[in-house]
Amino acid sequence: MAEEAQNLEKKRIPMIQVKNLYKIYRVGDTKVHALDGVDFTIYKGEFCAIVGPSGSGKSTLLNMLAGLEKPTKGEIVIDRVHIEHMTENQLVGFRRERVGFIFQSYNLLKTLNAVENVALPLSFRGVPKKKRNAVAKKYLKLVGLEKQQDHMANAMSGGQQQRVGIARALAVNPKIIFADEPTGNLDSKTTMDILRLMQKIVREQNQTLIMVTHDNYLASFADRQFHIVDGKITKIEELHHGEYGAKQEEDR
């Protein structure tokens, strides 16, 4: 069984490698270790959850993986590229080419409609309007918002906005999608819808998704869970739910 898992691991392509990662904030005279020596590897096509209570350093970890914060020490290799020493503009370029983002508060541009919001990151890549709108419509259809594609962002419900957010993250065909508490502002029914949608899409598109959450139950939708407490990974849980995902949820 262990051998089998190792064989499986060999075949898989590492997407994110984190080695000995530290983030130390200086607050007055005291040093706060937000991340205290973190090591892990995430493979292509995985749906991983980073779980921990607030203040555990999970958001810091996500921000560093996305190049929004610089680590104090350690290595982050994403898609075989070291990002820890990149300049701000290189990091922006890295995100533009490789990363999709799903936010807790959706962060859609209120002045744009659904299609324009989804097409926005493509416009940063210089994709012509016609082409990027076609792509945007395709992904809006995928998240089930065909009918709302011309609605303005602030005229939609939270669940709809988050679907637009997911479509926006997918539209750039990223190597990795980061989701920071993607269901934090949603009611429980919508939360389930969104999570199942994310799960389904990750499977179908063979995307790598990293989700940060404080909720163990939500984390159980992921293939692997990284439990993080006080800046250290305390436990990595692997769950092979596959089609049982829905069953487990009903059991609860």
């Binding site: 370029g93 533009r96 807790q104 990151p121 210089g126």
Partner: protein, 454 residues
């Protein structure tokens, strides 16, 4: 591979952002409109004043002409050295100077004009063809080139010199215009004025000399303007210099021609000596240089440039002061733009953070804000220009300021094409300059703190 946002998408985004805040954009643009209009109107007034000044000088004669006199022409005392006369040789020398387009010798000779009961004594100026071509004619036309018939062109004020021989009344006494018609009635010309006077007024010994021959000289044309208008050509009679020389030689034969200097032995020179020479220069800017060269050759040279340069210095200062007054309001407008952009960035902090996280290039963010402020400048510039044209039109056509200020009819406010273009370009530049620091600020906003959940 670097892929960045297309310019058109960027422009659309910037314009959309401006449209979101219509009133604020409109107010900021209004500031630029006032700024640009005041600069353009002020500069146009400066240009207008300068132009009116040049018009005024132009009416006194060609601005690119230098009049050259010989130092020795009127110096009959014979101080020992041979005076430096203006001869054909000198004319050739002048022609070879740089920037000189043409040179016309001027040969003056006194004549008596007679028509009916009227007669006038005046001087005929023999000039070159190029010179004659500059004379604005009101009636008639220049003689055919190559024609060998001597023809006269009369200044529009020459008529005032005619007096009625029988009644002895002149225009100056009666204010009544003499009944002289250059074009339709024959004009008789007496070249040998000395002989004429001695025939009119017999000398004490009672010997009356034979009156000199009268010549019928056809009129080619009359200088434009009424008797009340004045220009550089108003008081002279012009003729082709070569034909005039031929005529004089014909009349005087071997005798000395009156007005021509003699050498130290009292003999006339075998060639003509000109009273003055007009040197025409290609451009106003070169007049001073050429004039200096001619003075260095030992001649007296004068041109209108000396006066124009002095006036121009005064007008340059006026221009600067006027432009400065306008620039103050444009500066205030620039502060307005900077303020608007800062406000806009504060409002859009979150938005900027989002697009940064989504991978919008830092340069693109900066350019987006620069474009916005540049666009404010552009709109203000264009509208300001339109308003400037309206103000300029009103000043030129309804107020008659030019007449009051300079006594010359003409446009007091002039907006040349370069000023329009410069105004718009400058407005865009001011907009971008005002938006520069705000745009840097937008670029360096922390994406993380901008998207942090509130």
């Amino acid at each position: 591979m670097i892929r960045t946002m297309r310019f058109l998408d960027l422009l659309a985004m910037s314009v959309n952002n401006l449209r979101r805040r219509k009133l604020r954009t409109a107010l900021t643009v209004l500031g630029v409109v006032i700024g640009v209009a005041s600069v353009v109107v002020m500069v146009s007034l400066g240009l207008g004043l300068n132009g009116l000044m040049l018009d005024m000088y132009a009416s006194y004669g060609s601005m690119t002409a230098i009049t050259v006199y010989s130092n020795g022409f009127y110096d009959a005392s014979g101080s020992g050295t041979e005076p430096q006369y203006l001869t054909d040789e000198v004319v050739d020398q002048f022609e070879r100077l740089g920037h000189v387009t043409s040179v016309s010798p001027v040969l003056s000779t006194n004549v008596i004009l007679k028509q009916g009961a009227y007669e006038a004594s005046c001087s005929v100026r023999g000039v070159s063809r190029e010179y004659m071509e500059q004379i604005p004619l009101g009636e008639g036309s220049l003689p055919e080139p190559g024609s060998d018939e001597l023809q006269f062109i009369y200044g529009n004020n020459v008529i005032t010199w005619f007096s009625n021989g029988r009644r002895g009344s002149s225009y100056g006494d009666t204010g009544e215009l003499p009944d002289v018609d250059y074009m339709n009635r024959p004009m008789f010309v007496i070249f040998d004025t000395n002989a004429y006077y001695s025939s009119q007024y017999p000398s004490a010994d009672g010997e009356q000399s034979k009156p000199p021959k009268k010549y019928l000289i056809p009129t080619a044309g009359v200088v434009e303007g009424t008797v009340d208008d004045y220009n550089n050509y108003s008081y002279s009679v012009y003729a082709d210099i070569e034909l005039l020389k031929t005529q004089l030689k014909l009349i005087y034969k071997k005798d000395p021609i009156p007005g021509q200097p003699t050498n130290q032995k009292g003999k006339p020179y075998p060639y003509f000596i000109y009273n003055s020479v007009m040197v025409f220069v290609d451009d106003m800017d070169n007049v001073t240089t050429v004039q200096k060269q001619i003075s260095d050759m030992g001649f007296q040279a004068s041109s209108q440039m000396e006066w124009i340069e002095q006036s121009q210095q005064t007008y340059d200062i006026i221009q600067l002061v006027l432009g400065g007054i306008g620039a103050v309001s444009l500066f205030v407008a620039a502060i307005g733009i900077a303020n608007t952009m800062m406000m806009s960035i504060y409002e859009r902090t979150k938005e900027i953070g989002i697009i940064k996280v989504l991978g919008c290039d830092l340069g693109t963010i900066r350019n987006m804000f620069l474009l916005e402020s540049g666009f404010i400048g552009f709109m203000g510039g264009v509208m300001g220009l339109v308003i400037s044209y309206i103000i300029s039109f009103v000043m030129n056509n309804f107020l008659g300021i030019g007449q009051v200020l300079m006594g010359v009819a003409g446009d007091i406010s002039r907006i040349p094409l370069w000023l329009s273009a410069a105004a718009v370009v400058f407005a865009i530049f001011v907009g971008m300059a005002a938006g520069f620091f705000p745009s840097l600020r937008a670029m360096h906003l922390s994406a993380l703190s901008a998207i942090r959940n509130e």
